[in-house]
């Protein structure tokens, strides 16, 4: 089975995010990491490909920087990567992103496209569905379990009250939630091999993808601050302070 996994390099969420003056775009440093959300998709892709002697191709859009995030995913075991890097793509919205990813994916044969449910830095949460629409395939979303057999894919889809079992024929797009599988850590061999794996770069022009109508950030203002900060050290009796506040708020 030919599996494509969408991955994104993002600024390390452990560092404070900053916005560029003027356009309010997120500042992306040279060194970005693989979005944690994508480790689940990569692992899922690897397991499905390994079970069927298939391949895993990574597809990513955004400034390459030093490519560390892509190498992380290759080090887990993906076969190759396609990276769409183009200065004119800075500040792209979800639809432009989906069109670009779809155009890159269409350069490959694929049975299954896997994506996370939303990125950690942009979290629009609609790219997998848009991608499926453009590719003309079903999107099986919010998967907590994924299985493939006989040209079909079946998932457990998270719902507000539990989960649904959802099936479709392949090709299809599946978006996976955290915890769908336990992502592996790259081995030393994996890290060394990743350095030699092919990373093909394209621009939006190479792909012939069309930008979506523009979205603009008009302004950024400080949100009202919340006053807090009453702290007590637990001396073995701090739970009584909690009980007393719950009484005061009339919830007990």
């Amino acid at each position: 089975m030919k599996v494509v996994v969408c991955v994104k390099q993002i600024p390390d969420p452990a560092t404070p995010y900053r916005l560029e003056e003027g356009n309010n775009w997120l500042i992306r440093p040279e060194e970005q990491i693989l979005d944690d959300t994508d480790r689940y998709g990569v692992e899922m892709g690897l397991q499905l490909a390994q079970a069927s002697e298939g391949t895993v191709t990574l597809v990513s859009m955004g400034p390459a920087g030093n490519g560390q995030g892509i190498r992380q995913a290759l080090a887990m075991g993906a076969d190759k990567a396609i990276l769409v890097e183009d200065n004119t793509l800075r500040g792209s919205d979800a639809l432009t992103t989906a069109r670009v990813l779809a155009a890159a994916i269409e350069k490959e044969e694929f049975d299954l496209v896997i994506a996370g449910t939303e990125s950690t830095d942009g979290y629009s949460g609609v790219v997998p569905q848009m991608l499926a629409e453009i590719l003309g395939v079903p999107a099986l979303t919010y998967a907590t379990k994924v299985e493939t057999a006989d040209g079909a894919v079946t998932i457990h889809r998270q719902t507000a009250s539990g989960y649904d079992v959802v099936s479709s024929s392949l090709p299809a797009v599946v978006s996976v939630t955290a915890g769908v599988v336990e992502p592996r850590y790259p081995t030393f061999k994996g890290i060394m091999d990743a350095k030699k794996k092919p990373v093909d770069a394209f621009s939006i022009g190479d792909l012939g993808a069309e930008r979506a109508p523009e979205q603009l950030v008009l302004s950024i203002t400080a949100a009202p601050e919340r006053a807090g900060g009453n702290k007590v050290e637990d001396d073995g009796e701090a739970h009584l302070a909690i009980v007393s506040l719950l009484e005061d708020r009339k919830v007990i």
């Binding site: 639809l95 848009m130 109508p213 949100a223 050290e233």
Partner: protein, 315 residues
Amino acid sequence: MAAVWAFVEQDGDQPTTLGLELLAKARQLGEVTAILLGPGSEAVFAALGEHGASSVLHLDAGDRLPAGPAAAALAERAKSDPPALILFGQAYNDRDIAGRLAARLGVGVLSNASNVRLAGGGVETEHEILGGTQVATASASQGPYIVLIRPQSFVAEATGGGIPPVERLDPPDMGQAEARITESHVEEREGPQLSEASIVVSGGRGLGAPEAYQLVEQLGKQLGAATGATRAIVDAGWVPYAKQVGQTGKTVKPDVYIACGISGAMQHLVGMKDSKTIIAINKDPDAPIFTIADLGVIGDVHKVLPKLIEALQSR
């Protein structure tokens, strides 16, 4: 008056609260058409009217995963008679349909909005960013504007309208490109829904191990609260995605939020900082959660929670 569509899902014989929240906003902005997804019923249509819908587009996808067929039907309808604005909630089916509909119409989606305005033929949306410390005002250059609204951004309120006219939209046959729901499982849940609970007890990494989440559940049970979690422990597989509170997860605004072993990453704060009262228990005196907590207990959750549960039990 601008034509505004608002997406509402049916839950049992009623619209979801999220759908009614969208109707409350939509009727401030223009003439409201509710898009109802579900089997439909007199009661649910009446509720839509009471909450300000002057007409209803009814979609029943049956056992088909709704996004593909619903987006196809709505795109056809929107092309023949385009609304100015289409509101969806930041929820599973909402996101799926909005995404596919936007791709069909060739317009973007303004996601995670906490407010929306129509002015001078354009749209403006507000988005809480950087952990809710900043508010971004955004706009889109081409309509129909599709906006995803975070739950609990608006208050659902009945205004007393009559039963609106209902137009049934038949989702087209998508042929092979179709996903079907073969089984539905309702997971047993004690206590209220996370997004509708008046008390929420959440746990984070500071619990140390998945077993310690039981303390959160016990406290939740004692208080009749819903239980939530940080992304860190959802990612670690301790609790399911449905419990995640935060930027990539649910927004909650309960009367009381009790954060247990939660440091207060920006990712989490944006989902709970508007709770009326926040109580935090954490070992680290410098944890960011303390800056927004009405009561911060610097202590070990493994010691404080059992005592708290016991104190509540003996009342």
